[in-house]
Symmetry: C2
DNA sequence: CGGACGATGCAATGCTATTGCATTGTTTCA
DNA sequence: TGAAACAATGCAATAGCATTGCATCGTCCG
């Protein structure tokens, strides 16, 4: 009997090393998407470069997807189980909160199909909405 | 009679300095969105920092909009005449070509309205599509 | 004239991402 | 088992973009 975290990695052809299990664990525990710096902070003594290469491997194997939210740092979030590197099944909208700077996947909000002039060959669509998240919406920006 | 470029700046409450006129001119001449480095290259002897602050001023005054295309560098493109810093009227899709790395505004392709769970307060929507542009679509990636 | 203000330009810094390279750990196979 | 082969790790260094600090310059009043 293998640990569930190990199974997840093995299913994606990723050798389950201690560091990778730690990174996967922290990704699973956190609802919001995490940047490289976030993971580094949450894994107190992890080397930044190793985490970077771990996230790169995860991305290449279809375990996580990259989110460019305009915050300056790329965020990472777990993919759906049926995702592969070639074919992603979690083509959803992402939300970036301008107050708490957290980025979330919105699995229930699919990216709509957009028709482009025929000359374009679309490979990928990224839809990021910015504003106040559920937690921040009720809080005024400052007490004045 | 004032020069048309000067009129454009004055209409946006921007003092028409020589540097600003040069940056506006290069933005008008180029169909694709330009990064800070692009403008710096096109304006041979311009100081990088001054161009940076010029683009920042233009953005704050509603003359240009920022495009985060995931290329690593923010791109800038002219807004429609009726845009203001508070209210943009050019909420269109942007296209990033993965081959020539050019980013274009698609003024004819509007960003669709996306319904989010009520708790979210949306301020802005960014929709970037990636693939091959009209010019690059016909060209194979390499001769093999 | 002289101060106030904005614009400019050089230097320095911050932040994120990435590469080089030596070391360590693990698997393979004779 | 033992050595080669390979993968993973960690430290150092570098690259690239963005931003800030600060002194200077120019212009516009008063
Ligand atoms: Mn997601
Ligand atoms: Mn645009
Ligand atoms: Zn928030
Ligand atoms: Zn192209």
């Amino acid at each position: 009997m293998v640990h569930p975290l190990e199974e997840t990695l093995i299913a994606r052809q990723i050798a389950p090393t201690p560091m990778r299990l730690l990174v996967l664990d922290v990704l699973q525990r956190h609802p919001a998407a995490l940047s490289l710096a976030d993971v580094e902070l949450l894994l107190e003594h992890a080397d930044r470069i190793t985490v970077h290469r771990t996230l790169k491997t995860f991305t290449e194997k279809g375990l996580v997807h990259r989110i460019e939210d305009g915050s300056g740092a790329v965020k990472f979030a777990l993919c759906e189980p049926q995702c592969t590197p070639e074919q992603h099944h979690d083509l959803h909208v992402h939300f970036f909160c301008t107050r708490c700077r957290e980025t979330s996947c919105l699995p229930t909000v699919a990216v709509p199909t957009i028709a482009l002039p025929a000359a374009y060959q679309v490979q990928e669509t990224s839809l990021v909405m910015k504003g106040l998240c559920a937690g921040c919406a009720g809080i005024p920006t400052s007490i004045s």
